[in-house]
């Protein structure tokens, strides 16, 4: 087989290259030629094309992400945007790293493996920081619940998230399940992973120190995820092998579990100076990023890479996205120790190269030089676009179409029927059908998981220090006003963490949008970033990192702008966490914190009952959110409350349903003002709380001082949800309506 060498590239400047088929524009290809002062070899072209793709280079999003970097510095932030994941200080010498990533498109093509490898990828990002991965969360969005394609995609995605995460021994501590027509043909499969380490154990992706060894370890490299390289193989070479290769990667969680334990043992023995996982763009990404962040040069002998398929071309090896692989930079005298730990865990490892100070990444294959590039130009100097953006033409009409015209329930029976109808919709119904497929107990530190508002993990068994995490996003709000919608996503995740009694300290984001080539989508994107950045500034939270997923659309129709926000909080003592269920103490009284306005734009009521999306989303009052969070943290620490539950999608009706059904204890509720508004409005900045008479009295004093409105709305007890002016609902009926929805759609789980 003929190899396209650096030398040959210099001799044949006019040889045609399939840059367009690899996704590179003419001007991008020319730029590569300018950088190299010759045409690229096909291996170099492969590397530039994957690294300069939207997915790896953030070329459309980069200019808009600047507001995150402009946020005031935070004492908590130890590692910020740009590394594999951000790291924050949670006290007592512990550092927590967390990040979310999307695996939307692969999950549509092959739901199980797409979702499974999504879990695998984000777990490796967390591991790469030097942390032990602790837990995962899965914010998911699908098309209409009754659509045939949803029945194809959803069960596979859920099984894939569970199949991979369960096998890694990582508890799943929360997530989201949202259905909306805009995600038909483009589900969102986002996965968040969180990990912990000691401050001094943070690892970075860099390759310092000339003479240090470059080691690849984990799975062998195979021909998966290399659609682009196949083009090169078929067009550049006249070889006989099949050119059609699977572009979806297949996960092996068992190998990843070994990789985790192997890495942690290697970290503990202090055997690496830099580490990077192989994600998108495989070796191309890992070698160029490590080299450009280190001493600057690296020589790689590609023949040393363990292969699953010996017929792979050098371009394919460089582009392969085979899963469960890592790359480490190891000082020469530590290589033996490194390889010994790999052998103990039966993890394959090979020295594939050496760090140098040449300022070049050179790659050798079959004795020929096939790559000779400045690594920074591949990893960081990709094109940056200021894509045109404009407010969509239909935005005004959308906002003018308010839900005011929709008919509202008013009689006691109508209000009951509306409540039952809403909570029986898959968006608000019990998610047990999904969460039962996930291990929540493994590792023995899960204090709260689904259906609680946030996942809570114990970090230290002696001190009881712990963390809380929630992910939230509401595409309907984002569609109506992307700036406010993004702020509301931050606010809701922040509030969900706060209702456990935790103090929110940092966020990460997973930004799901349509095509960046669409000016309306770029406007949504820019507005969303501005919203997140402004919200974080007001709440005093750093953005620790994030992920951008563009091209989420079916045909020409983009998904709603869906920024998913993950908020991390700290609990000094997880034993004092608050839970959502009523009925754990005698004589509980119920109060509502926050202000309820008649806000129905983008609400679940408008969507479920009327198929309506229009008007403006609820007000985002971040100062009020901060005051609410402060009161909740104080109330948890002083043990004033027996329950706390966020009010959001579906309004107070959904919150009450979840709180009474948690332990099967009813409530008598009396609501001020318009009952319909009180039950179904989705005003932000609210929480339902319960406590004894003494506890609530103390809370009221604190609320007055903090200027948080507090309204007594009822008492706990009985076996029905009895709301003044609403026909009482026996808990059994409420439970049936709430729990039957998902099994009815996706198959009953009761064994025959």
């Amino acid at each position: 087989m003929k190899i396209d060498t650096v030398e040959a590239a210099g001799r044949t400047p006019d040889q045609e290259q399939p840059h367009a088929a690899l996704g590179l524009r003419g001007d991008e290809y020319q730029r590569i030629r300018d950088i190299l002062d010759r045409r690229p070899t096909s291996a170099e072209l492969a590397m530039y094309s994957v690294m300069w793709s939207e997915h790896c280079s953030y070329k459309s999003s980069k200019v808009h992400l600047r507001p995150f970097g402009d946020l005031p510095s935070s004492e908590r932030l130890m590692v910020g945007i740009g590394e594999n994941a951000g790291v924050v200080d949670i006290g007592d010498g512990y550092a927590v790293t967390f990040k979310a990533e999307s695996h939307n498109h692969p999950s549509y093509v092959e739901p199980y493996q797409g979702a499974a490898t999504g879990v695998g990828g984000i777990v490796r990002d967390i591991l790469t920081m030097g942390a032990r991965p602790l837990a995962v969360m899965d914010p998911l969005r699908f098309g209409p619940p009754e659509a045939a394609d949803t029945a194809r995609v959803l069960p596979g995605v859920v099984a894939g998230v569970g199949g991979y995460g369960n096998c890694l021994g990582l508890p799943n501590i929360g997530g989201e399940l949202v259905f909306d027509g805009c995600y038909a043909g483009n589900p969102l499969v986002n996965v968040l992973c969180v990990g912990v380490m000691r401050h001094e154990d943070i690892k970075l992706a860099r390759a310092p120190g000339p003479g240090n060894a470059v080691i690849i370890f984990g799975s062998r490299t195979g021909p998966d995820g290399i659609g682009g390289a196949s083009i090169l193989a078929s067009e550049t070479f006249e070889d006989q092998k099949p050119t059609k290769r699977p572009s979806v990667q297949v996960g092996d969680p068992f190998t990843e579990k070994l990789l985790i334990e192997c890495c942690l043992e290697i970290f503990a023995a202090d055997l690496v100076v830099g580490i990077q996982d192989f994600g998108a763009a495989g070796l191309s990404c890992a070698t160029t990023e490590l080299a450009s962040a280190g001493t600057g040069g690296m020589h790689v002998v590609l023949d040393e890479v363990p292969l699953r398929d010996q017929t792979m071309t050098c371009e394919e090896i460089l582009m392969s996205e085979s899963q469960e692989r890592m790359c480490a930079i190891v000082e020469p005298d530590k290589v033996d120790g490194f390889l010994a730990i790999c052998a103990k865990w039966e993890v394959r490892a090979a020295v594939i190269g050496t760090v140098n100070d040449s300022g070049r990444l050179t790659v050798e294959w079959r004795g020929e030089q096939i790559v000779d590039v400045p690594p920074r130009t591949v990893a960081h100097d990709g094109p940056v676009y200021e894509r045109p953006l404009s407010r969509p033409d239909d935005q005004d009409a959308l906002q003018a179409d308010t839900p005011d015209r929709l008919s509202r329930p008013s009689s006691a029976d109508e209000l009951r029927d509306t409540l039952l109808g809403l909570i029986a919709h898959p968006n608000l119904a019990d998610k047990t059908w999904v969460t039962e497929q996930y291990d929540s107990y493994v590792r023995g530190n899960t204090v709260l998981s689904q259906p609680e508002d946030a996942g809570v993990l114990r970090i230290d068994e002696q001190t009881h220090r712990g963390i809380a995490l929630s992910t939230d996003g509401n595409g309907r709000y984002g569609r109506l006003d992307p700036y406010v919608g993004a702020q509301l996503a931050v606010a809701e995740a922040y509030r969900n963490v706060a209702v456990t009694g935790a103090t929110p300290i940092a966020i990460t984001d997973c930004l799901n949008f349509g095509s960046p080539e669409e000016p309306g989508v770029m406007w949504q994107f820019a507005e969303s970033i501005r919203g997140i950045a402004d919200a974080c500034r007001e709440l005093g939270l750093p953005v620790t990192g994030g992920n951008v997923s563009f091209y989420n659309q079916t045909g020409d129709v983009a998904i709603h702008p869906t920024p998913v926000i993950g908020v991390l909080g700290v609990l000094d003592d997880v034993r004092l966490r608050l839970r959502q269920g009523l009925g754990r103490a005698a004589g509980e009284q119920i109060a509502l914190l926050g202000t309820t306005r008649a806000e129905f734009g983008g609400s679940q009521w408008a969507g479920i009952m009327h198929g309506h999306l229009g008007g403006l989303p609820p007000t985002a009052d971040l100062a009020a959110e901060a005051r609410l969070a402060g009161v909740l943290a104080q109330a948890a620490a002083r043990q004033w409350l027996t329950a706390a539950h966020d009010v959001s999608d579906g309004g107070l009706a959904a919150t009450l349903t979840e709180s009474v059904l948690r332990y099967g204890v009813g409530a008598q509720i009396s609501l001020p003002g318009d009952r319909f508004v009180a039950l179904f409005s989705e005003s932000a900045g609210r929480a339902l709380v319960a406590g004894t008479a003494y506890g609530l009295a103390a809370l009221e004093v604190a609320c007055t001082e903090a200027r948080v409105p507090v309204t007594r709305i009822g008492t706990v007890g009985g076996d029905e949800l009895a709301i003044d002016g609403v026909t009482p609902i026996p808990l059994a009926d409420l439970r049936t309506a709430w729990t039957d929805a998902l099994p009815r759609l996706f198959g009953a789980v009761t064994p025959p």
Partner: protein, 242 residues
């Protein structure tokens, strides 16, 4: 602490319970924590060695040993440490297999029957009520017929066995525990765990090690398995020295 309470705590801490880590074991840390909370001393055992480190009993923890490749528990049952455990168990070493550990014990031929794919084909995690039926080295602290709540979480937890085997297990009182209420995986006769005829080798699909702290478990009922084995070992020591 009184002098005698200190003595008991000291005696308990002298009991060494091995917890095996196979490649892919996941609940090994949880099992070790449960032993510690019960007062005993957990000892980490590595699959690739032949050294039982003079432990008094062994726990095979949950997880996906060797990725559950071939069949759940099949490859682990041939590992070096299992050779020693099988020999020692036949000579009287108490062994508890939880979930994947139960699968390993069945594959190793130490317990009858097999664990197969759940009838509904899903992995399922839920808090499960169990009735403890057999009095064994691992269940002595439970009242006969005690009902407890512990998590069950597995994809291949459906207990099956031939009709004669099932009849014999029932007749000999070797059903360790049975599911109460909804059967979570379609197990024959609602069987959640079985014991060998000596009451020392037991397998249980649900996870008592995840129900040892009120903070993180659905109950603390699971602790009984770990206090039982410590008491059983101390009792045996008292007999042999007395």
């Amino acid at each position: 602490m009184t002098a005698s309470a200190q003595d008991v705590a000291g005696d308990l801490a002298d009991v060494r319970i091995g917890v095996v880590t196979f490649p892919g074991s996941l609940d090994d840390g949880d099992a070790a924590r449960a032993v510690r909370l019960a007062g005993g001393s957990p000892v980490a055992l590595w699959h690739g060695t032949h050294d039982l480190e003079a432990v008094d009993a062994v726990i095979l923890p949950g997880g996906f040993s060797y990725g559950d490749y071939l069949r759940a528990g099949a490859i682990a049952s041939f590992s070096p440490i299992m050779r020693e455990i099988i020999d020692a168990a036949r000579r009287g070493l108490p062994v508890l297999g939880i979930c994947n550990g139960f699968q390993v014990l069945c594959e190793a031929g130490l317990l009858p029957g097999a664990l197969t794919r759940n009838a509904h084909l899903h992995f399922r995690n839920r808090d499960q009520c169990l009735r403890i039926e057999a009095r064994t080295a691992w269940t002595g602290d439970f009242e006969p017929g005690a009902e407890i709540v512990v998590p069950v979480k597995n994809g291949e937890g459906r207990y099956v066995a031939g009709a004669e085997v099932l009849a014999a297990v029932e007749a000999e009182g070797r059903v360790l525990a049975r599911y109460v209420g909804a059967n979570p995986n379609g197990s024959s006769r609602d069987i959640a765990g079985v014991t060998d005829s000596t009451g020392r080798i037991v397998g249980l699909m649900p996870h008592p090690e995840h129900a040892v702290e009120a903070l993180t478990g659905p109950s603390t009922d699971g602790l009984g398995f770990f206090t039982s084995i410590l008491a059983s070992i101390l009792g045996a020591r008292a007999v042999s020295t007395g």
